[in-house]
């Protein structure tokens, strides 16, 4: 088993929480893991990305080679497209469709969506809207993670357990909200794929 994943978003959107949950579940599964993060200046509202590599055999590079990522998981549509050179020809792009606009020259959202919809393998969902319906506005990242979960080849219960462990100190309520958000994202992808 080998999964190379690019996590993308804007500083503060919670991609490191996604990485932590997948990472925890992967290690519980007995997989090798390497995960390169971005700390420092970019975290101030800039573009951020994380390279997450899972494998049943030892991993060499901390960075994923270009054109080899099996998945891009993004909490923001333009950020999803920024890492397209990383995506393998048969790789999937899973992205939130809700733009995060903190720059004056943000492109037209319709044009961004055209680019995303042109990709052969993609899941695009409005994770902000889904999170809002669940009264879980701070769990948008978990909705996106849920939408990506069918592609991860990791036991889903292990992912739920990872949320329980990682958010334990924040209390049961937060744990339940995040599990529900991840489930909602997963349901979305499953309904789309069935069609």
């Amino acid at each position: 088993m080998k999964k190379d994943i690019i996590l993308a978003g804007v500083g503060g959107q919670g991609i490191l929480s996604i990485a932590a949950i997948i990472g925890y579940a992967a290690v519980e599964t007995g997989l090798f893991l390497k995960q390169a993060e971005v700390h420092g200046m970019s975290q101030r509202g800039g573009e951020v990305q994380s390279h997450l590599r899972l494998s049943s055999s030892p991993i060499a590079s901390d960075l994923i080679p270009e054109g080899k990522a099996n998945l891009i998981i993004s909490i923001e549509p333009m950020e999803a497209l920024r890492y397209l050179p990383m995506l393998a020809p048969d790789g999937w792009l899973i992205t939130n469709t809700e733009p995060f606009i903190n720059i004056p020259n943000y492109p037209e959202i319709d044009k961004l969506m055209d680019e995303i919809n042109n990709l052969p393998y993609h899941i695009a969902l409005n994770a902000d809207k889904i999170a809002k319906e669940l009264n879980a506005t701070k769990s948008v990242n978990m909705v996106v993670l849920g939408a990506a979960s069918p592609f991860l080849d990791i036991n889903y219960e292990k992912m739920e357990n990872a949320i329980r462990t990682i958010f334990k100190r924040k209390g049961n309520e937060i744990v339940d909200i995040n599990i529900a958000a991840m489930k909602a994202g997963r349901n979305y992808t499953e309904s789309v794929i069935k069609k």
Binding site: G40, H51, D62, E66, G67, M78, L81
Partner: protein, 534 residues
């Protein structure tokens, strides 16, 4: 033993705890910050009573570490690459004094400048100081090397440099821990003049270093971290240093390379291993993260005129960090076609957070300076450096920690009036105080704005050494009391703040404006912790 999922920085921190350090000294700086933070948050470190407070700057940190080593205890001192410039004086001299207790200096270099103003390579400092240098290729090696580095440090009574780069510092992987070692007892040096670098003693010390350093080569030749992997295709030999070794292996999924490979993770350069690969192969490719130091050194070691490929001849880019693809191209492997970034995707640079106090200060400063020609604001290193970007375009310099103050002074001495400094509270105590003293002594006409957000914000909100003391420091240095003003950068205070700044701009002498409001990120963190407790 336990398996832990740790960043490269955290692996070093955990290893330092496990290797029995009694203290860690550091000033925050990306990508090194998490070493100290991990030790600060460690329950084990608390139980062991390991000293783990931030220092005012890298020089004070390095000197304190030398002091702890003097007592026979193990210690590490951590900084980003440019921090070693600040600590260079004690660092270079520590090679002369030597160590007593094990002393490791950890520098985290930042090739590609993810969060830095240059991408200098700390291995040059190791060579300059003539000290052993360790360069791990992965998190486990980083952990293990701390133990080896302490052993070498104590065996030869010498400080040791441990150099990592961003990708290792901030990448997570599983590491296996070793058995914990006890802390050392207090034991002063056998020779109580060991640390006295009077010229007469220093000369002897240098001769001793020159002699001892021969052993460092032997250690590197026999180091388990330097490995020679033989192979049949001798048309090309590959020297891969530190992290570059991973990118090399990434290109061979079965991990079987056709060519001989020399992996280097401990310096000085292991001469006989280098000669072996050079003599046996027709050409050499050098892969190294940072500057082409090995590539250059190679020319002093080998005699025949074989072709050496690397960063100097353009086989690899001369600047920026390596990645699997750049290494793959250097290896001459076929390249897969990759998609392009759609042209509508635009850059999203970092920016000041909404409600950041720096925003209100920059807007007020811009208004106050409206009647003067532009180009008068000397600034410094921190979140507020982002004031250089639109829509503020508020600052005209960022060179090194503290340079805002002394550059404004130099410009004022040359006749620029008004001349303005914008410096953060932590940067001011790091390296601004001595510059302010110069300005006061020379009665230079500068307006110094200290952005006091009561934290070291850029690196994640560490305590700031001058909190609660800034007015007293300025007054103690000799700034006139009536020209030390305090403003609160808020939208509602805009007009008043513009007025205060305008008045001080016109003052012919040193004036200080402390612009004080807590960083919004720190405030939010503090409030949510308070809320959680209730």
């Amino acid at each position: 033993m336990d398996k832990l999922l740790l960043l490269g920085d955290e692996s070093i921190a955990q290893a330092a705890i496990d290797a029995g350090i009694s203290g860690v000294y550091a000033y925050p700086g990306t990508p090194s910050t998490e070493i100290m933070e991990y030790i600060q948050n460690s329950k084990e470190a608390e139980e062991l009573n390991i000293f783990r407070n931030w220092a005012s700057n890298e020089k004070t940190a390095m000197e304190a570490a030398i002091g702890m080593s003097y007592t026979g205890k193990r210690t590490i001192c951590c900084m980003k690459h440019v921090g070693l410039n600040v600590a260079a004086d004690p660092f270079i001299n520590s090679a002369f004094t030597g160590a007593n207790g094990g002393l490791i200096v950890v520098t985290a270099d930042d090739p590609s400048m993810h969060s830095s103003q240059n991408e200098q390579d700390s291995r040059f400092y190791g060579k300059f100081a003539m000290l052993p240098v360790f360069e791990p290729s992965n998190q486990q090696e980083a952990y293990d090397m701390v133990f080896s580095a302490f052993e070498i440090s104590e065996k030869y009574k010498i400080p040791v440099l441990l150099r990592i780069t961003t990708r290792l510092a901030h990448s997570r992987s599983a590491i296996v821990r070793r058995k914990k070692l006890p802390q050392k007892d207090l034991k002063l040096p056998d020779d109580l003049k060991q640390f006295v670098l009077l010229p007469a003693i220093a000369r002897k010390k240098f001769k001793a270093l020159l002699s001892t350093s021969k052993n460092f080569f032997v250690e590197a030749e026999n180091s388990p971290f330097n490995q020679y992997f033989d192979a049949t295709d001798k048309s090309k030999g590959i020297i891969a240093c530190g992290l570059a070794y991973n990118y090399l292996m990434e290109n061979y999924p079965d991990r079987k390379l056709p060519n001989p490979v020399l992996k280097i993770s401990q310096y000085p350069l292991p001469r006989s291993l280098v000669e072996k690969i050079y003599n046996e192969c027709n050409e050499i490719l050098v892969l190294e993260e940072g500057y082409p130091i090995v590539e250059e050194l190679l020319k002093g070691i080998v005699s025949k005129n074989k072709t050496v490929y690397g960063r100097l001849d353009g086989t690899l880019p001369r600047d920026g960090e390596l990645n699997p693809r750049s290494v793959s191209i250097a290896l001459g492997l076929p390249q897969n076609k990759v998609r392009e970034v759609p042209s509508i995707v635009v850059p999203r640079p970092p920016s000041l957070c909404p409600s950041c106090p720096h925003i209100d200060l920059f807007l007020a400063l811009n208004d106050a300076l409206k009647s003067y020609t532009p180009g008068r604001v000397f600034s410094d290193i921190g979140c507020y450096t982002l004031g250089a970007l639109p829509p503020y375009n508020a600052i005209n310099s960022c060179v090194d920690m503290g340079a805002s103050l002394t550059m404004a002074k130099g410009a004022a001495d040359a006749g620029l009036f008004p001349s303005v400094t914008v410096i953060g509270d932590s940067t001011f105590t790091h390296s601004g105080i001595t510059g302010l003293l110069d300005a006061v002594n020379d009665k230079s006409s500068i307006t110094v704005i200290i952005l006091d957000n009561i934290t070291t914000a850029m690196t994640g909100g560490q305590p700031s050494a001058g909190t609660g003391k800034l007015e007293n420091i300025c007054e103690g240095i000799g700034v006139e009391k009536e020209h030390i003003k305090i403003i609160k950068p808020l939208k509602k205070n805009h007009e008043e703040n513009v007025k205060v700044i305008k008045e001080e701009l016109e003052y012919k002498g040193v004036s200080i404006i402390i612009s004080r409001r807590e960083c919004v990120v720190s405030l939010n963190k503090r409030m949510s912790e308070k809320f959680k407790k209730n």
